[in-house]
Symmetry: D3
Subunit: 245 residues, 6 copies
Amino acid sequence: MLLHTAAWPEIEAYLKTSTGIIIPIGSTEQHGPNGLIGTDAICPEVIAREAGEDAGILVGPTFNVGVAQHHLGFPGSMTLRPTTMIAALNDWIDSLARHGFEKIYFLNGHGGNIATIGAAFAESYSNWSFDGEACPYELMQRNWWDLPGVMDVCRSLFPVGEGSHATASEVSVTYYAYPEHVKNVKMSPKIAPNGRFTDADDYRKTFPDGRIGSDPAQATPEKGATIVQAARKAVIQDVTAFFSR
Amino acid sequence: MLLHTAAWPEIEAYLKTSTGIIIPIGSTEQHGPNGLIGTDAICPEVIAREAGEDAGILVGPTFNVGVAQHHLGFPGSMTLRPTTMIAALNDWIDSLARHGFEKIYFLNGHGGNIATIGAAFAESYSNWSFDGEACPYELMQRNWWDLPGVMDVCRSLFPVGEGSHATASEVSVTYYAYPEHVKNVKMSPKIAPNGRFTDADDYRKTFPDGRIGSDPAQATPEKGATIVQAARKAVIQDVTAFFSR
Amino acid sequence: MLLHTAAWPEIEAYLKTSTGIIIPIGSTEQHGPNGLIGTDAICPEVIAREAGEDAGILVGPTFNVGVAQHHLGFPGSMTLRPTTMIAALNDWIDSLARHGFEKIYFLNGHGGNIATIGAAFAESYSNWSFDGEACPYELMQRNWWDLPGVMDVCRSLFPVGEGSHATASEVSVTYYAYPEHVKNVKMSPKIAPNGRFTDADDYRKTFPDGRIGSDPAQATPEKGATIVQAARKAVIQDVTAFFSR
Amino acid sequence: MLLHTAAWPEIEAYLKTSTGIIIPIGSTEQHGPNGLIGTDAICPEVIAREAGEDAGILVGPTFNVGVAQHHLGFPGSMTLRPTTMIAALNDWIDSLARHGFEKIYFLNGHGGNIATIGAAFAESYSNWSFDGEACPYELMQRNWWDLPGVMDVCRSLFPVGEGSHATASEVSVTYYAYPEHVKNVKMSPKIAPNGRFTDADDYRKTFPDGRIGSDPAQATPEKGATIVQAARKAVIQDVTAFFSR
Amino acid sequence: MLLHTAAWPEIEAYLKTSTGIIIPIGSTEQHGPNGLIGTDAICPEVIAREAGEDAGILVGPTFNVGVAQHHLGFPGSMTLRPTTMIAALNDWIDSLARHGFEKIYFLNGHGGNIATIGAAFAESYSNWSFDGEACPYELMQRNWWDLPGVMDVCRSLFPVGEGSHATASEVSVTYYAYPEHVKNVKMSPKIAPNGRFTDADDYRKTFPDGRIGSDPAQATPEKGATIVQAARKAVIQDVTAFFSR
Amino acid sequence: MLLHTAAWPEIEAYLKTSTGIIIPIGSTEQHGPNGLIGTDAICPEVIAREAGEDAGILVGPTFNVGVAQHHLGFPGSMTLRPTTMIAALNDWIDSLARHGFEKIYFLNGHGGNIATIGAAFAESYSNWSFDGEACPYELMQRNWWDLPGVMDVCRSLFPVGEGSHATASEVSVTYYAYPEHVKNVKMSPKIAPNGRFTDADDYRKTFPDGRIGSDPAQATPEKGATIVQAARKAVIQDVTAFFSR
């Protein structure tokens, strides 16, 4: 069930059976010459929605712009400052907690979000810890590629050129979700360089077309389907365990 | 063109032909017993996307949780504090301005957002006004129902019971967008009461099922299509005028 | 009664008879060549004070610097960032609510404040909505020129050249309040241009002497008296209705 | 000259002769049974305005609500949180600096503001110090009672019962400014107790009628006139020295 | 007892005997050519720790970076913005209050901190004053040089050239604490100039080697020992009085 | 060299040879019945200082209170909210960058800090990324236990009962640093339980004496010396590589 397409009495009914929700959380940032700018939001969204449909788990709205300051050198990339994201996440959490949600599971699609999500959770718990009252909810984040078994699938599909940004796997997932947006682009070098980065200027200098270590020309909707299939099962297991602990 | 399904070189190319973008902006909040919680985000999103496709205008990600504190008494409603939303909107604006966007048009779907969007714009301009430099971009918000001609269509479709929250028109637009989520719910009274509200407690007391002045049982996908058709044309005209002034 | 010239036992006594208060709220910004920089604070202040005296309503301190970033291109203009104003208004509201004020009526003199006041109200209510407790107070803003009947008087006094900034009416009100500061200045063109604006640089380019659409050379203390007379009655009615609902 | 009653071309002209301005800054808080709630704003306002008129110095709007959290136990008292006040003062300073004001002199009427004004100044300078650019303006605060010679006058007028809050002197100054608001109230004990305080609850317990160490029943408009006369001269000297250094 | 070298059961036990704690608070900023950058943190730390050991008073961690924006022109100086320091101090206070500490005594080593500490205290009390509940703790700050008798000792040790920044006394205290870091540096002029300052640029122009009015070449560990001896006794008395009031 | 015991000309000289600095960063929180509350600050401090002395690397002040909200259930624990810590770290970074430091290496001693330090770095870089200018500095964090080889030493010293909070290793390091504070405490069970936690209430319920998975009764100063010896070498290598890349 999707929060966005439900009416409030449906949520009221859902809360009598479960107090858990999945929030897809991603980013809006360049993903190389053939990758969709929405990749990091699309991946957790499609996985969460398929899992939610399969298992009757409620899926909330997608948090679609994250911390992507290092991508601002590429047109179309958008970012929140970490402090803004902490404030926004806390408002989302407080809204859900207000209704009695006790398990809020963020399915994350962007490495750059991890630290800030963690800080946002600590900010949220801080209010209860200072007050000395027991916090009535539990927060969890999971990167979709860290779900058990998923990286095994990715590696078997892309033994070479998976990379770490604009990866062959994530581009595949978006092609599966939006086959009409498959982009055929020649990229050179075939496999992008690896390295470190700090701000947007540094990033663009080091990674001229935006990719890191990847050869996303290998991406196909079919491979995306395989990955989503694996992730869907894994997220249901992971969420079920979280909701019931 | 959608920012989310484009790759960065496509945005780079777009910026050579236009520096304008539409950002759908809505809310995630109860819309009565048969209305979708995502109504206020879905309406501007569907209108913007159809207009963007027709006219080759870039449409950015949907800002999907707005200021809806007064709806928190109904399960599933989510809100940002106004100050959080001001911070988030300024990060979105600064990101887009960084790439050379000079005309940012927010197509709004939620009355409760209007004041905060206006405050966010003034916050953004303030930086330039204090510095004494000329701001390189212009910001505009438009409620989709305020587009020329749209309310005429709505009133002719729903001469009685349009209302002001969970309106027959907005529910129709979402039914057009998501016909699989049409909900048949009996509501009593047929036409909801009118009135004022302050916070969530006050709202729920005054409007027990969430609707204000509306009879959304009249909503159908077909009527939604008629409204979207009118709004699509109107938004193209409105945006074109804004981009070229 | 004015809060500023009362002693605390007088406020304690007042609160036993009424829990309502009027707060004049304005701005400190250029009002063209013959308009007072304090116009937007002076107008609601003089109207509120006369109404308060007539009807025994408590009038609080004037919030005298508002959101006027677009006027910073003219010497003497002052502004708050919207987020600062939201914080300050919330402190004012919380202070008054602390004493048991339940109806806080902001009589506004500046169009540029409207959005931010609205956002500040939503920020205030948010605290209660998140907590799920009933907010004990109600907030209202009213522009003095929107009081029933006032614009009719203004239009009949100034059928031509009323304008929308540095209006003939508002300048008249200030001349009524401070006849010793009537300024005889030749302005050219007689009626200022109309248009839109964003930041301070844009505003000054479009409106070189600060006026928008107005011919404030028509302003006189006598006309100001007529306007205040109309507004005073209207505000008493408006406030009385608000306090008693 | 008052900023509020000037038009912008007058400020433009003033800035060619002086880049200094006085900002009266006070508080809105209880001042005992016979003291005006606006005392701390009224005192610096009346002194600054008389001095400004005498010496042709520009006087800006009065910052009328300060840090008075400890007075919230008494009806009518209002406060800003210190962080709010720092933000507001920085917006005021940035606005004035934008126009070329280089010497901003805050004439303060409230002991509770001193620390926060100091912190606000450091906050303002910090921006320049981090950037490594020279700050183009200088900020100064002065309590009106600390002006050379003023306390001598106060002590000679009130050898007994001057006190430290709701002082005989400050009440006199307000009676001089608003003789129609002289309040005849019997207070017991004649001289209020002395002591320390933390928050509002603590303050009210220790100082039941709001006064600290004072016998303000001695206050008269005439004594107020004497004090203002002394302070007016002293502030002109102090400001002149500040503007010219 | 030092908080940092205690285990939590020891603090639990301490709280049964006393609810008071000393927090040394200083700064990390240039102290002239022969003064330690950590001077303002070291001085209150060494005094507090010796006093704590003598009298069995708990001493918390040292707040070691304060408000020192005006020193940023000299390599190694560090600062917090005042608003950052207010936030940090409030988190420290809230943490300690959470455990039942009721008397929190800040022994301060830096003049530039005084205003911001005062503002932080008012920010802390504000929460209680707005809520109308009694604040369970009391906050106090004391500059170590303002402890009764200490300046007498300093003046007798350094009748000439004590100064007001990088003073002979404070440098002596650090030499006493870290005799291995005594620095023999020739300074010219022997006694540094006096004056005012605003931001970092202004400070460095006025005080080229960082000192104000001082001749710290007189500093010795032995004189530092004498000062610490006096301050240690005075702080025990001061703290004891504060804890027991 | 320690920043705190250097004078500014020494830092000026250092900057001509190196633009790198180490900042020890920790926490002030319970570490079980025999662990020092300052453990997480002491460990990186002692390692950094020994490394700094060996290799001539500048070591700055210790950031001694971090994000430890989950420990507030134990007396003596202190925390910053993550947003406060982000603000403070940015002030520290901006101060150091002001002087030309280009490599700022945070040697971290507390797992709970990792996310917030990461968010703070992204916040810092965001300023440059929005502006489009190249950030002149690089930031890095390293947990001391993640330094190459260090965990091997820890595991060989404590094959059983190392644990994850109040570990045998970290307690040993503090005993090495402060042998006078070795605490002999019987703990039961010998090895503490493992598990997850959210806020302070949850933490204390799950881990009644504060330890997670550890048997710190094994800690000795000698074992601490072995660990510090390993970490010291590793940090010099790590820092040297960072400074020279």
